[in-house]
Symmetry: D2
Subunit: 417 residues, 4 copies
Amino acid sequence: MPELIFPLDSSKKFEDQEKIGHNRWHPEIPPVATVKPGDSFRVHCREWFDGAIVNDDSADDILNAPLKTVHKLSGPFRVEGAKPGDLLVVDILDVGPIPNEDSGPLAGQGWGYTGIFAKHNGGGFLTDQFPDAYKAIWDFTGQIATSRHVPGVSFAGLIHPGLMGTAPSADLLATWNRREQALIDTDPDRVPPLALPPEPEFAVLGGLPQSEYDRVAGEAARTAPPRENGGNQDIKNLSKGTRVFYPVFVHGANLSLGDLHFSQGDGEITFCGAIEMGGFIDLRVEVISGGMETYGVKENAIFMPGTVDPRFSEFIAFSGTSVTLEGEQRYLDSHLSYQRACLHAIDYLTKFGYSPEQAYLLLGAAPIEGRLSGVVDIPNACATVYIPTSIFDFDVRPSASGPTQIDPGMGAPHSAG
Amino acid sequence: MPELIFPLDSSKKFEDQEKIGHNRWHPEIPPVATVKPGDSFRVHCREWFDGAIVNDDSADDILNAPLKTVHKLSGPFRVEGAKPGDLLVVDILDVGPIPNEDSGPLAGQGWGYTGIFAKHNGGGFLTDQFPDAYKAIWDFTGQIATSRHVPGVSFAGLIHPGLMGTAPSADLLATWNRREQALIDTDPDRVPPLALPPEPEFAVLGGLPQSEYDRVAGEAARTAPPRENGGNQDIKNLSKGTRVFYPVFVHGANLSLGDLHFSQGDGEITFCGAIEMGGFIDLRVEVISGGMETYGVKENAIFMPGTVDPRFSEFIAFSGTSVTLEGEQRYLDSHLSYQRACLHAIDYLTKFGYSPEQAYLLLGAAPIEGRLSGVVDIPNACATVYIPTSIFDFDVRPSASGPTQIDPGMGAPHSAG
Amino acid sequence: MPELIFPLDSSKKFEDQEKIGHNRWHPEIPPVATVKPGDSFRVHCREWFDGAIVNDDSADDILNAPLKTVHKLSGPFRVEGAKPGDLLVVDILDVGPIPNEDSGPLAGQGWGYTGIFAKHNGGGFLTDQFPDAYKAIWDFTGQIATSRHVPGVSFAGLIHPGLMGTAPSADLLATWNRREQALIDTDPDRVPPLALPPEPEFAVLGGLPQSEYDRVAGEAARTAPPRENGGNQDIKNLSKGTRVFYPVFVHGANLSLGDLHFSQGDGEITFCGAIEMGGFIDLRVEVISGGMETYGVKENAIFMPGTVDPRFSEFIAFSGTSVTLEGEQRYLDSHLSYQRACLHAIDYLTKFGYSPEQAYLLLGAAPIEGRLSGVVDIPNACATVYIPTSIFDFDVRPSASGPTQIDPGMGAPHSAG
Amino acid sequence: MPELIFPLDSSKKFEDQEKIGHNRWHPEIPPVATVKPGDSFRVHCREWFDGAIVNDDSADDILNAPLKTVHKLSGPFRVEGAKPGDLLVVDILDVGPIPNEDSGPLAGQGWGYTGIFAKHNGGGFLTDQFPDAYKAIWDFTGQIATSRHVPGVSFAGLIHPGLMGTAPSADLLATWNRREQALIDTDPDRVPPLALPPEPEFAVLGGLPQSEYDRVAGEAARTAPPRENGGNQDIKNLSKGTRVFYPVFVHGANLSLGDLHFSQGDGEITFCGAIEMGGFIDLRVEVISGGMETYGVKENAIFMPGTVDPRFSEFIAFSGTSVTLEGEQRYLDSHLSYQRACLHAIDYLTKFGYSPEQAYLLLGAAPIEGRLSGVVDIPNACATVYIPTSIFDFDVRPSASGPTQIDPGMGAPHSAG
């Protein structure tokens, strides 16, 4: 086990730990630890809501999830010698749930959760079709996840950090705030909102001096979106064995990370769509001096995915095009096409006995693949979603004999939004 | 070899064959042949431009590609007993270039092509960055493709039909025309256009009686977009061994297909982005009576991809978010995110010595994977593109020693749009 | 299609063709064609018994299979400039059944066969347990094989040449004859024999002058075993996309090949265990001058397998150790361990309703994997055999509910030895 | 984390722990713990030599390795209700090095070792060619192993238990002793020996009453070989996610296990050929009542391997036949064929700069695949060994430009036997 440079005590809140992380992006948040190129180290991560979501059969916690408090991030970690213009090489050596804690009230202690957020509290990819709050609890048995709320499936974890990135420079932060505010301004009262401006309430800024707190909290960027620094990319393939290359914008790079997922489908479609959990991650860092210019990597992370993902050979796949549910033709809109493909998959799964919400939660959590299959055939983009057939306990393929009927059990807990 | 029910003579034009196919969708185009459920049969396919694109080092043919003439489709094939509401099961038993013709003037005779269309003639995924016409010729050696216009790479073919589908009913056709015209009407003079209305010029309608020709040609839908009947989905994974389930909208199903690709990247990003060719395909059909309702498959094809695709273990991957090149923030636009991911990949490859056009052509033709990685993290969707590293003759991974420099050779033929 | 340099007419016997191949190894058999390094070319191959095994429901043809007549090889092909000490690089560009002939009396015309040889006529891996002759006919539908004699399974072809190699030098041939005769001499009357000495009867020696025939036929090596020149290696993974490196022992290398298989399990355990067929193969050759010394490759072929094999994710696997069926302990005998593993697999499959012979034929023909798992744990070697579960139409995994019972159909044709 | 039912303190010897395991097989060794069908539990495992092999640059410890003391096994674990005739279902939920101990003197604390045993002390697969003792230390960085003694390679762990099995009945034990002694008696003074008889010296028998110790130690079977109960199968694919089915021979099944490997090549060819380590394993057990008869699984374990093994696409492969190094022809001896294939691989790797011992150690430790490719082509069996090319830092493929020369570094520590 590499040296643990950011410990978390599961019995304490995120803000009461020995070392305090952060939940906003800002270049002035001071590093909590320093590592050298070539170093390996372990970091604990808290689940993104710091315990607000519990292992029960109600979705009230999802309905009222405190979005201003996220994401609880570990870091920043300063890398000696890293300077703006470099590429920070991050190897994900290992990643998993909270070590040696197999049961308890905190996601990551032997269990995790997937949520469909209510439309008035963040929404999700299919929020118009699913405006209320729903939840699924997943139990971990070794590397396998199963759920009492979504029976009939089990799958090996594709464990990864949903969020990892370097600190923005002051200039880059200003760019983010400017361009996101401009978007918000186009429809400031939209529900759910178009973007999230800086929010001082519930900001956690690590070891920032109190004197700077109000200013920085008023400038610091929210952590929801992925941006030039990586950030909340929610790329399910950033699993064990992956090497990521991040642009460096500040001296020391100031790497932060969190939002671990036990599994996720491409897109993380229910918003809180992965199987959320706390846990640990082991990293090793290197620096490619001047690498941003050398490799033309200035605005986004690049990566080489690991080779120990769960292996699937057979899939049932669904396609969608950029026509709305109301029948309106949109122009090459792959986002809409993927929505339609996912809705087609949900329709299909309900024929086997699942409720639409169970199917939606499953697509968020299972290692489904979402592809941009055709993006040029005007006016219809074609997106596809591939579901591995071996995650089902039953034969999920179409046949002349019709779909098997499963017992959907208690269903997914529901709280009307 | 199954019975050849749709032969094509490589020395003759598509309209001069023994059996005439079609290049528009319409329920009244009469079947050219009838098969029974359980039958296997072979079909020849002509490349989509019927020989207009040639094996040379100029892109003038791409610049002037006759878009009104596409796609040259084989069919329709009537399936006995299939009726509206059924699912047509299509097994792709085999598919390949023109059999026993290894050289000649027709794409599929030992070679194929990829084109970047000029902005004024159809454009492509990155048409604002690449407004001119470019071409790459690919030579087939067995299952391997290489190109004198894109040196340093070789890859096994992921051969598939870009286009396959059932005939629309009259109602469905009317829906298509109505919704696409409504889109066109929002910006009727746009270049490239938002969608393509029915176009009598160059319409080929198989054995349709002359008396009906003008009416039908004025109603028949263009074949560019994928729609409820499948159509031009350009799903690269529809390769050998795949089973597809199409909704049936007319009696007999009336299956048609064409636009074979020797290989393609997810998205077919250069528009003519696959390696285009003519060839053959062996199919077997079955019918699931009433399957549209039974399985909830009413608006799009579903499929189970084959298991003999080329196998890759290592990838270099690029991410993109929904911020325009000008820095404007868009709301969860995965289409834009994929454009940005592809542009990042192109920037990266140019550091090794490729021209941007070579890199763009490569991404269109090679079996790259395009993923909808994050679709809910407002305001930024995250899309990713995965390039298999083993297709390169050199080490394409980032390292402290910097990128290898390749010899880009003659480059990609160019014709200013 | 590369130039066809060795055509075969399916309506004529192997010895009546325009170009005559051979069925023995000898350095003096003259080349039938000459190719240059870098050339691609097509070769037709006749199935190893030249039509003696037919598509019916009797095993009499297997019982009386004319072993002295095999293998019918295409070649030798001289490679310009190749000289002793070089490595001959052979790319398998493509390989398949007889092109454009989907039905007919010759294996490769839409069908192939697997045989269990009788103990008195060659035997097989489990000949003591299966002393009689059995046969299974496999039908090809596209890339898929199924059998009326072994119902309940289907699998994609892993098509490969069972036999390919360079000509031996006179010295090497003498070594073969000397060492194999020494083995035979230890038990000259054994049934089945320990090895096969030169056999003038039924020898086919291509274009060898009649004056040399008797001498050469009396010296030429039989083609059954693999040897330093490659030869009948029966490596199932020598499929499309594979690159093989053969030692060169004579000027021109004199490459020959044949014994195509539509599929095979590791070991080809029923002797005629693959799915035997005739067909075509497209090759490209290169030469690494002096490569035998440079790479230490002097006594056997090395190869890089292709990457388009059928992909399987789930297997049911059986282990065996080096204890005989009679309970005698042998010392680290992996051959015996694999026999025991295969017998365990057969026992298991009979619990689902197969006859032992059906299970044995299946293990010979399907793409099973045979592994040398432990070779040092005295006194028991451990070998394992992995059967892909997805080749079965039913669930073949053990469970508390016990094995599904299949309908074994007519069973495997049988002729008492 | 499941309940830890067999803890080991890394600072204490195996015999000084709170719960004492065993290093011999005998039905009377009492269970150390009891579990129920459906239970998940964690077990610690000590490396097989209990710390005798150290992390240094000498091979003296390998030369003098105390073979009478192995294997240090955890267990037996009684499974409630399991009875003779049942099948014990064991799911490997997780397995890894010693948790939370990243450095220290015990293999499994961040490192492991591979040894070539001297011929006079156990030998190995190629002991005639490698009669002396050699060692390689492997360092673990996350899931990746590298070695200062074998530079130029790195690979992800394929972690598995080398040894797992149920207790023999008294009858079965007697059978083992009888048949193995009969083998020993054929050459009692052989070096290395043909098999290992019961050995009271250094026997560890768990909680067996002292009064029974001498008798049981004189009867108990050594743990080196795999047998009907599973045992030391050294199947590298018994990794995380695998389900194994063991025959049950005594009431309670009495499952034991140990000999964890961080990685291993098929065959574990250097005897101590895996990367040996201590660690933990999480298991879940079920029972199929009467399963031995129901599924015909009476003499050996069967298993379904996991799906998260490291994924490789490209291999360089070597073949071998059953001719001895002295040129003697043997009859269908796959064990010999695999020796020859491995020697060919070693010869090849030395051309790149490795010493033969480095290459041999690498083949033992890396995830190479050993296949029984042809087992019926008299007189030559054909075995093949596949080395993944991506484990090398350099291009290991043959080419016209000849092999890259690596720096072999300090080489493998050596102690003359």
